[in-house]
């Protein structure tokens, strides 16, 4: 499959490093001049822009945090004058107060370019009909993929999220060849397509799903339910939106567009950079973005970078699926639990055929954390006799205990009884008040 920008996507490491260094020096200088928060932190470290000569100096620079976006809400972190800001987006605010991001015309182009590279790398281009079922509006999902899809010359169906019946009808009638939405919504659409028995009426080839973590098992389920190849795309509003990185045809990690976003992996406790290939917290520096640049932004995503050459020929490092966000992590009875671990266990069961709809409920009763997981009953899981169901239930409980290190109560509930989301899935209900 082709490249969107072959020269940049296949640059040698030396060329890339030189390019990154030049852009970093430029970015640090303009951030120092225009962003008060950054300047104050540099001054505290007694650092001047002149002390930064290239990416070897990156670890000297101060970190930035999600909290900064709240403290300097709404425009305090912008490095370009408002007259140059042509678009505002805001994060969906799943974790606390809303944050905003501003884009210059050039930023929108960088963003669309990132999404275009991902779409091209999974085989899409002119002649494809792309249904975008991410929410449009302040959320970066809809317009982010929209920009990329238009850029590659595909036919765009700006569907936005919601109204599942109409989504499926549109897909069928307009012969959409690709679908972009959140993986949980893709899962839901897949279930509905199966229930209605209309899979053979679809023209879909591929799906590009992101904006929330998902597992390999979920990928298999979506691929089977919709008859497509499913690819992961990554991004965050603070950095730019979807298209910071994405999978190529080999589904072996997401290429980070390092000519725009420098990734680092740090130890979240010591804050020291870790060698490439280690697992730790992902940190990004946007070296070309003008509107709201981020220097060493701590994403809270835990993952690993793979520097080995990819079969597709792209030289940009691949980030493995984040297996959790440090702020998604639950601490239950003193043990760190990531919802993604629970997902892996549930979906891995019974050949991954359990309907992967589940909800984690954490509460505190008599000063002790309670940990319950509701799992929707599925066809494959159900038997006419109590014994077999209980055996399976016990096996899930045992597996969870061995993976998580603590016990959870598993409850089998009616199918379709856990609220389906058309945006992000609400997987965790934490009722503890501490």
């Amino acid at each position: 499959m082709g490249y969107w920008d072959e020269k940049k996507e296949t640059m040698s490491r030396e060329e890339l490093t030189a390019y990154q260094s030049e852009k970093l020096v430029w970015q640090v200088k303009r951030c120092y001049e225009n962003v008060e928060c950054f300047r104050t932190r540099m001054d505290e470290l007694k650092l001047k822009p002149e002390d930064i000569h290239g990416i070897e100096d990156l670890p000297k620079l101060p970190f930035s945090y999600k909290k900064d976006l709240r403290d300097y809400y709404p425009y305090g972190l912008f490095a370009a004058p408002m007259k140059d800001i042509v678009r505002i987006h805001a994060s969906s605010g799943t974790t606390g107060k809303r944050i905003v991001a501003g884009y210059t015309r050039n930023d929108l182009d960088i963003w669309a370019d990132g999404a275009a590279r991902v779409l091209t790398s999974v085989g899409l281009g002119e002649g494809d009909i792309i249904q975008i079922s991410y929410g449009y509006g302040l959320f970066t999902g809809g317009l982010g993929l929209h920009g990329g899809a238009e850029k590659i010359g595909a036919t765009v169906i700006p569907m936005s999220s919601g109204n599942t019946a109409l989504q499926i009808q549109t897909m069928i009638d307009l012969k959409a060849t690709a679908l972009c939405c959140t993986p949980s919504y893709a899962m839901y659409l897949g279930e509905e397509v199966q229930r209605l028995g209309v899979q053979d009426q679809l023209s879909l080839k591929v799906g590009i799903f992101g904006a929330e973590p998902w597992s390999e098992e979920m990928r298999k389920n979506i691929e089977a339910a919709l008859g497509i190849k499913a690819y992961d795309i990554y991004g965050l509003t603070e950095i730019i939106g979807p298209g910071v990185s994405g999978e190529c045809e080999y589904q072996a990690g997401m290429h980070v567009w390092e000519d725009n976003f420098i990734p680092e992996i740090i130890d979240p406790d010591t804050l020291e950079p870790l060698p490439v290939g280690s697992e730790g917290e992902l940190v990004f520096t946007t070296i070309t973005k003008e509107g709201m640049p981020m220097i060493r932004y701590r994403t809270r995503d835990i993952c690993r970078l793979d520097p080995t050459p990819c079969k597709c020929g792209r030289t940009h490092y691949r980030m493995m699926k984040p297996h959790g966000r440090t702020d998604d992590m639950l601490i239950i009875r003193g043990v760190n639990v990531f919802p993604s671990q629970i997902e892996e266990v549930l979906l891995g069961f019974n050949d991954g055929e359990i309907t992967p709809n589940y909800q984690i409920i954490v509460d505190r009763v008599n000063h002790t954390d309670t940990f319950d997981i509701n799992v929707e009953m599925s066809e494959k899981f159900f038997a006419d006799d109590m014994k077999s169901i209980q055996k399976l239930e016990n096996a899930i409980v045992a597996k969870l205990r061995s993976v998580l290190g603590i016990g959870a109560k598993v409850h089998l509930v009616s199918p379709q009884s856990i609220t389906r989301s058309e945006g992000k899935a609400k997987r965790v209900i934490d009722k503890r008040t501490i």
Binding site: M377, S378, F382, D385, V413
Partner: protein, 128 residues
Amino acid sequence: MFATQLSVFVENKTGRLSEILNTFSEHHIDIRALSIAENSEFGILRLIVSETERAYDILKREGFIVKKTEVLSLQMEDKPGALAQLVDKLSDAGVGIEYLYAFVSREDGGANVVLRLDDTEAAQNLFK
């Protein structure tokens, strides 16, 4: 004789059973016999109905989890000792019973028993 029983998953929560029964009511499905096996979390509703295939399709379409199970449905005399005799016959032949439930038939007022056995074939021959 063999009969096809429908087994439906029922979460142990107020209103869940009525959802299923109302579905039958809406579609005019007559329930001939039923029993519920339950633990504290969920139950398995077992039913013999008037139109098994149609009822199965409707339940599936409405999103219930339902399975078809082959069971043995036998008629016996409605008098003391009849069930004991039947069960003895099975145990003498070494056939195990997983569960059973009884009902009275509307047509002839006879007693009926639905049996789920570990060896339905062998039992079938016993009651020819």
